[in-house]
């Protein structure tokens, strides 16, 4: 029987793959459903929640998830009821999250800007535990299953939400589902790259895939592959260049996206068309 190595680097490697799959998948929906601002706000909500956890000596991960849910609840359903545009809500929530995070951190004088908080801000690959891996694998399996079963509804909503509603699909339900799943994925990704950089993991792989592909079915396969590849390349770069892991991953991810824009056949066609 082959045992997996659950050492630090093994866990780092595994989490790069799992987070790459999760953010690559969810990123497609976040980008195509125009939930980018929401994804951004939720990542900071997760940061504020983690800060609250640190300040109150509770599990930062649990607090981060709860806060991300709270932000998702504010942005999704409450914005709908209050008839406020999502942009309005996210413009309010983003600075509020940051303010709350720093208040939580300074509220209890015993906890200053220590490594625990730095971990939440910038990630800490060494603090990824076996339990985190179990959560990531479970979430991967659950997310893939959900996407498999409701793919056609999500596909339709990504194309045109109004038309999807006109075809009898409960678009609100599925949009909220994506927001909630994105919140959990964001929270689990905190340890890899931290709250300040997590958004790049959601946005970049999907946007890169969209530069080349003309079939959404291929985008949903390729985006996670890009996420995994850039995460692993970033980890490799940080090892050899002696730089922080989170920043390296985001740098690699962003460079790949920038390169994809430059060489995108779609962009060339648009330019030629002009």
């Amino acid at each position: 029987m082959i045992w997996l190595g659950f050492d630090i680097m093994g866990k780092a490697f595994a989490s790069c793959i799992l987070i790459g799959v999760l953010t690559g998948l969810m990123g497609v929906f976040v980008v195509r459903m125009r939930l980018s601002a929401i994804g951004y706000s939720m990542s900071h909500g997760a940061f504020a929640g983690a800060a609250l956890g640190v300040a109150t000596s509770n599990n930062p991960l649990v607090c981060a998830i709860l806060f991300a849910f709270f932000v998702a609840f504010l942005i999704g359903p409450v914005a709908d009821k209050a008839r406020l545009h999502a942009d309005t809500i996210t413009s309010i929530i983003f600075p509020l999250n940051m303010a709350l995070a720093f208040i939580f951190l300074t509220l209890t004088p015993e906890i200053g800007l220590t490594s625990q908080v730095a971990n939440v801000l910038w990630g800490s690959i060494i603090s990824i535990t076996n339990s985190d891996l179990v959560y990531m694998i479970t979430l991967c399996a659950v997310t893939v299953s959900i996407i498999y079963f409701v793919w056609k509804e999500l596909f339709s909503i990504m194309y045109n939400r109004k038309l999807a509603e006109a075809d009898g699909i409960n678009t609100k339900l599925f949009v909220y589902l994506i927001i909630l799943l994105s919140g959990i994925v964001t929270t689990l990704s905190l340890k890899l790259v931290g709250g300040l950089l997590i958004y790049a993991l959601l946005f970049n792989p999907a946007s890169t895939a969209l530069q080349f592909l003309e079939d959404m079915r291929k985008v949903i396969i390729v985006s996670p592959l890009i996420g995994v590849t850039t995460n692993l390349l970033g980890l490799y770069a940080s090892l050899h260049l002696n730089l922080p892991v989170g920043s390296c991953i985001v740098l690699v991810s962003t460079s790949v996206f920038a390169l994809s824009v430059l060489i995108s056949p779609k962009r060339k066609r648009r330019v030629e068309g002009e």
């Binding site: 056609k152 509804e153 596909f155 194309y159 509603e165 009898g168 409960n170 291929k218």
Partner: protein
């Protein structure tokens, strides 16, 4: 009118767009009989699109009620929309959009297929049949963004037809078509309307063979129904501005 065959009934319906103060639909009462073919005409901003979207439940009226097949649209909207084919006025997509035209047509059937269920071969065949009817089946594997405006519009019509709807709502469905298609597709819709007996409401500026088949034209102006009669009389009323 035989009220037992009424499939759509609007009763004093008023609708206002979010953020607007002026109602886009005002006190509209309208009954449409099953299998009827109705044209809706009127100047720009007269409320034609609003009427279709209100019937379809995409816009919620702040006053009045809408019954479709005897069910209140407010409470049964999703279920009813699974049986209503809708061809929107705005349909153009960006050139880089990653959706194949066959997939866009299939989307029309998703509401009917239901959550958790997967589309099967029959659904795909229905979608392809619709595309064949509109002579765009050879475009099934092309991305939507690479189709012309007219082709995209045909895809939208095919999407609505693929649903095998009981009610078909079409908002300016021929505006982007080439002259030949403008002649043939209304004929096709007319034939399908006769054959499948679905109730059809068409919003258009154009007179064509489909109009020849309809017995009723609703004229709208400023959010209200100003005329609701036989085509000749209604069009005269429209020209007169009454």
């Amino acid at each position: 009118m035989n009220n037992r065959n009424t499939i759509i009934n609007l009763d004093n319906v008023s609708t206002v767009y979010e953020g607007e103060r002026r109602a886009a639909l005002r006190d509209v009462s309208l009954s449409i009989i099953e299998n009827e073919l109705v044209y809706v005409v009127g100047p720009n901003a007269s409320g034609k699109t609003t009427l279709l979207e209100t019937i379809n439940g995409l816009l919620k009226p702040f006053m009045g009620s809408i019954l479709v097949s005897g069910l209140n649209m407010k409470n049964h909207g999703r279920r009813l929309r699974a049986e209503i084919g809708y061809v929107p006025q705005d349909f153009m997509v960006d050139p880089g959009e990653p959706y194949l035209s066959i997939d866009v047509v299939m989307m029309g059937r998703y509401g009917k297929i239901g959550v958790l269920n997967k589309p099967d071969e029959r659904d795909r065949e229905k979608a392809l049949d619709s595309m064949r009817l509109l002579e765009i089946d050879e475009l099934s594997q092309r991305p939507m963004g690479k189709l012309s405006g007219g082709q995209q519009q045909k895809v939208m019509i095919a999407r609505a037809l693929a649903k095998e709807p009981k009610i078909l709502l079409m908002d300016e469905p021929f505006s982007n078509l080439d002259p030949e298609s403008k002649r043939r597709i209304p004929e096709l819709i007319s034939r399908l309307h006769e054959k499948n007996r679905f109730t059809t409401i068409v919003v258009t500026h154009e007179t064509n063979r489909l109009m020849e088949a309809c017995r009723r034209v609703v004229v709208m102006d400023n959010g209200r129904v100003t005329a609701d009669e036989a085509p000749e009389k209604a069009l005269r009323a429209l020209e007169a501005g009454t």
